[in-house]
Symmetry: C2
Subunit: 196 residues, 2 copies
């Protein structure tokens, strides 16, 4: 089970040096959990209960559009946090679903324990600012790619940067994430130069 926390600390270390004191807090407040594939972790219409760190596995964040179609908002590639963050932080009702596509090993922390950790530890605010900054930069790039790349260019870039997702997640979810139909993604893959 130590493996879970090592993954978390490796991830955090990329952003911030975490003092041993704060590591102890994390070990106490983050709960390890195994979730089998094809499980809904959080649902639209409810306040998100947990902040999730993915130790291993593939998850999807989606919402339903006006016609009831599932729209993929986010997919993870490897270890990282995966949470309906805005509504989790504000304790407001979410419109998003969190879906474990494959078996997942997670570390989970409740909203109350996030606050407890903030009071006890010394690094949480600084960490939050840095990770939000990084997420914002990534999201701006995604919006720019959506605006300025063709569907084929978006797919090639996605495949290059996320080979793991390509091999573990149904293509229909990837198509939705890229803003295209499965029909068109199939066309792209047929003609494409990608080797996957």
């Amino acid at each position: 089970m130590d493996y879970y926390y090592e993954k978390l600390f490796d991830y955090v270390a990329e952003i911030l040096a975490l003092p041993e004191q704060d590591k102890a807090i994390c070990r106490r407040l983050f709960i390890p959990e195994f979730v089998p594939g094809n499980t809904l972790l959080e649902e639209a219409g409810k306040v998100p209960r947990y902040h999730n760190f993915i130790v291993s596995g593939y998850m999807r964040n989606f919402h339903l559009d006006a016609d009831g179609n599932e729209i993929t908002n986010d997919l993870n590639n490897g270890s990282r946090f995966f949470t309906s963050y805005f509504h989790f932080m504000n304790r407001t009702v979410s419109d998003e679903y969190l879906h474990c596509i494959t078996d997942c090993h997670l570390l989970r922390i409740s909203r109350d324990d996030v606050e407890a950790g903030a009071r006890e530890g010394s690094t949480q605010e600084a960490y939050t600012i840095k990770i939000l900054n990084n997420q914002l930069a990534l999201n701006k790039q995604r919006a720019l790619d959506m605006a300025n790349l063709t569907a084929e260019e978006r797919y090639e870039k996605f495949a290059r940067q996320n080979p793991g997702i390509l091999m573990n997640v149904p293509l229909q979810y990837i198509a939705s994430y890229l803003g295209i139909t499965p029909r068109h993604l199939s066309r792209i893959r047929k003609s494409g130069s990608s080797s996957f």
Copy 2:
């Protein structure tokens, strides 16, 4: 000149209650500046020097693509902060230009003074987290709109939410922001139901 700071405090008040002490710090560290229309405030290839609050006027953030075309990343509608934030915070070289399209009244603060303000004041970290959270939510929505709305739907939504921009900013910048060609925007406007 007090008008400048009232605008800033009104804006901040939407997010956080600013104690009088911190207002005094802002009055000392934010410098009022008038910038005439069609001025480049920051340039690609340099470290952004200032964090800008737009009291009035319209600004554009753009970068150059591989072919040297200007790609509009952001446009403001009314008062808000407008900065190449990621590189400003990290003191790294930016790839973005900040362009005052119209005459602008700004409040500007240097990177060093941001840090001075953080040391002296009590609310800056909390404010930063909240505004980053809001920006992230807005940016996610932009990426989703790019992925899931047609060009016409994006324009109608933009026109509805930003009538001020429509009347003060050249359409070619708006087209770029929406990820379409000026030719196509013209088509949309001709047939559209929008009254602008």
